[in-house]
């Protein structure tokens, strides 16, 4: 074989192999629900058609370039106009495009139809995390009788068409769980809908797919699909009343530290001040988007900081993320236990959040936002305060 051909073949093979990955959680070619499946069923034949046409075109170009290259020969007679050929070369692409367009339009219309959804979940994007809230309803399994609010990880029951109703608080974001459906932009001031459904229990990763500023790449999210029984258990846990830490413990000190340092932005439902009045966060006074993640049940999810960091240690994380579909729900419901807490990264985050995730949080550079930060600022906490907060947060199940 010619040396050049071998080199070209090797480069081509390397490029092909570069597309392979053992751990590819955001792979739209592994659909895990009917919506993603319909996209897959459309993409594959279209990709094959486009690929075949692309190869034919490239081969023809290569033949023409090689065969008719300038070798000093006389310029051949120039022919202008070949009606039969031109008509054929117009009709064939038109037919191909029509053939592709019919299933494409059908799939788009089918995906946009949200009338069959049985569970509504609101999603609100902001720099750089997703807020997820479940309005009261009789859907979502046995119903939701009080609002549930969480962030970063959306929990859904399997086999249930879920309507994601989304918007944004600051800039345009885009919601995309590739294994469950296509992407949907979330535009400030507008409400967008996206239907998702998972066939099997599992953790389905996604990422904001509309550039939204400094930490766009760190704005992730996951959908945790569970069996209906596990989902009911999750809902029950999310609505259980607040429990204060036992007196005299490090966590009890952490509660006071949380109230003085964190509660002005982060809501913990049920938290009360010394007079017994509920403490209500006011992120709108400190954060540009006007929101900060609700931490009432932080340790029931296993990521934080816009799902960019793990609350589980590297040893514990695979037990949940790589769990078979039969046990993933149960593993997830265990939440973050003391022996599995990734305290290293949580401490680093509390010590200096902007160092862990690029954010516009430098207090000297906030003229454009009237002093409001985009993201969490460095709170200059002492090591003792960090210890107390970690102990307190660890009890937020």
């Amino acid at each position: 074989m010619n040396r050049r051909v071998r080199i070209a073949a090797a480069v081509g093979l390397a490029a092909l192999v570069a597309g392979c990955a053992e751990d590819a959680p955001q792979d739209m070619f592994q659909p895990a629900g009917p919506n993603a499946q319909s996209i897959y069923d459309l993409s594959v034949p279209v990709f094959i058609i486009a690929g075949v046409i692309g190869v034919i075109v490239m081969v023809f170009i290569a033949i023409i370039v090689v065969k008719f290259r300038d070798r000093g020969q006389a310029i051949p007679d120039q022919v202008h106009g070949k009606p039969t050929l031109e008509i054929i070369l117009t009709i064939i692409p038109a037919l191909i495009l029509i053939g592709v367009a019919i299933p494409t339009v059908g799939t788009i219309m089918a995906l946009n139809d949200t009338s069959d959804t049985e569970c509504v979940i609101n999603v609100t994007g902001q720099q750089w995390w997703w807020e997820i809230d479940y309005p009261t309803q009789s859907g979502c399994g046995s119903g939701i009788d009080q609002p549930i609010i969480t962030s970063g990880q959306m929990v859904i029951p399997i086999g249930t068409p879920v309507l994601v109703r989304g918007t944004s608080r600051d800039v345009i974001h885009s919601w995309w769980i590739p294994r469950l459906n296509g992407k949907r932009d979330m535009v400030p001031g507008r409400v967008h809908t996206n239907r998702i459904e998972a066939d099997e229990p599992g953790i389905y990763a996604g990422q904001c797919t509309e550039f939204c500023g400094l930490s766009h790449a760190n704005m992730r999210m996951e959908v945790i699909a569970m069996t209906p029984e596990d989902f009911e258990a999750w809902k029950l846990n999310q609505t259980k009343p607040y429990e204060s830490p036992a007196e005299g413990t490090l966590a009890a000190k952490g509660e006071q530290t949380f109230i003085s340092q964190c509660a002005r932005c982060h809501q913990v439902n049920g938290l009360e001040d010394a007079d017994g009045a509920p403490i209500v966060s006011r992120p709108d006074l400190s954060v540009y988007s006007g929101a900060a993640p609700n931490l009432t049940h932080l340790m029931t999810r296993n990521t934080f900081a816009g799902a960019a960091y793990n609350l589980l240690t590297p040893e514990c994380r695979p037990k949940v993320w790589n769990a078979p579909s039969e046990t993933v729900g149960a593993e997830y419901l265990k939440g973050v236990t003391p022996d599995c807490l990734n305290s290293v990264e949580l401490r680093e985050w509390l010590r200096n959040a902007p160092a862990k995730k690029p954010m516009y949080a430098d207090p000297t550079k906030l003229e454009a936002t009237d002093g409001l930060t985009r993201g969490m600022p460095n709170l200059a906490l002492s090591e003792d305060q960090i210890d107390e907060l970690v102990a307190y947060l660890l009890e937020r199940h």
């Binding site: 809230d133 859907g139 309507l163 918007t167 507008r190």
Partner: protein, 381 residues
């Protein structure tokens, strides 16, 4: 042979490189250095390209015209543009240490005089015939000068006219506009029916009119605008303590409200007051089955459309808890509302709620003043 183009590109590339280095050493932030560095790379590339494709083309050097001695060229006429350019540079320098407006004027002067100077100098080397050169200069410069001058002229006249209109009272603006419009139309008819009137006369009339307008605009601008009374709004009245949101009565805000709505915003919910006195709602996409009210995200603008199908003018109000009134310790209700909406009509209300509904015993709600049965839960998680 190094052509003028190569010299220019190499010079610009050197300047960009030095600027990138100087910026990188003296200034904070990487973006300026990246920008200047990119310009330097692009200019070096273009300079190299020019050196290779143009300067390297030695055939171009051998054309007879280059080897011949150039014809004597008359000295160029005096030009105002070098002076204007220097003046612009001085204004720009002064602007750097005084006001941004002065700096911008300096930049504009520099750009305009630089462009004019360049066009003039370029045209002067076109031939030995000064008349031909002037024509060349006009051909290159006039397509830019005329639209620009026209835009500036129109802008000045329009701005002056707007100052006059804002100075006059509301009634006098109508009279002034009618009189001025009539004069313009009358003059237009006159010139149209009298084509023999010298064009200079028309130019004098238009010039005098424009000058008069500019003078009037300057005088009016110095005198200031008339007082413009803003229309009341429901939120404005609310802040003043007027009980509009709990009242079914009509206020000035109901008649001449200047509420603003974003044309690009989507509707979070449509709430309808039916003839049965009940509130129903419709959300984007199917509603959550069995929902006990509307859930809206916190700290985010939400557009609520209120449709009145009750048979009488009604407003939609939202009860959003209480707050401590400014300058006192009294708790006052937080309310928002639409203006009175006629039967069959609809109106948008944009709501941004910063506190969750759990802060209020009983939560938030929508209601219609005067219709007791019309109530709807509002949940803000």
């Amino acid at each position: 042979m190094f052509t003028t183009g190569s010299k220019f590109l190499v010079g610009a590339a050197v300047l960009a490189t030095l600027s990138a280095i100087a910026y990188g050493v003296t200034q904070d932030g990487i973006m300026g250095t990246v920008g200047l560095g990119s310009a330097a790379v692009a200019l070096w590339f273009l300079a190299g390209l020019n050196l290779y494709t143009r300067d390297n083309n030695y055939w171009a050097d051998e054309i007879a015209s280059i080897e011949q001695a150039p014809a004597a060229v008359p000295a160029p006429a005096n030009s105002v543009w070098p002076f204007a350019f220097a003046f612009g540079a001085a204004v720009l320098a002064v602007g750097l240490v005084t006001y941004q407006a002065v700096f911008i004027i300096g930049v504009v002067l520099l750009l305009v005089s630089g462009a004019e100077w360049t066009a003039e100098a370029w045209a002067q080397s076109a031939s030995a015939d000064t008349g031909h050169n002037a024509n060349v200069r006009d051909r290159i410069a006039n397509p830019l000068e005329f639209p620009l001058a026209a835009a500036i002229g129109i802008g000045v006249v329009v701005y002056a006219f707007s100052r006059v209109m804002l100075f006059l009272s509301k009634t006098n603006t109508v009279i002034a506009f009618a009189v001025l419009g009539s004069i313009v139309i009358a003059l237009a008819f006159f010139f149209a029916y009298r084509p023999r009137v010298p064009s200079k006369a028309a130019a004098v009339v238009i010039g005098v009119g424009a000058l008069g307008l500019i003078a009037g605009g300057a005088a009016a601008g110095l005198s200031g605008e008339r007082e413009i009374h803003p229309h009341e709004t429901t939120s404005g009245l609310n802040e003043e303590g007027v009980d509009i949101c709990t009242s079914p009565d009509e206020f000035e805000a109901d008649l001449k409200a200047s509420q603003s709505v974003s044309a690009t915003a989507a509707v979070a919910a449509t709430i309808t007051l039916g003839s049965d006195g009940e509130l129903s709602y419709d959300l984007n996409g199917p509603s959550a089955p069995g929902a006990v009210g509307i859930t809206l995200p916190r700290s985010n603008p939400n557009n609520i459309i209120f449709q009145n199908r009750s048979g009488e003018p009604r407003r939609l109000s939202a009860s959003l808890g209480t707050m401590v009134a400014e300058g006192s310790t009294n708790e006052v209700p937080v309310l928002m509302c639409t203006t009175l909406v006629d039967d069959g009509g609809a109106q948008n209300m944009t709501m941004r709620i910063d506190l969750p509904s759990i802060t209020t015993p009983g939560g938030y709600s929508f209601f219609v003043p005067g219709v007791e049965s019309a109530e709807l839960n509002l949940v803000v998680p």
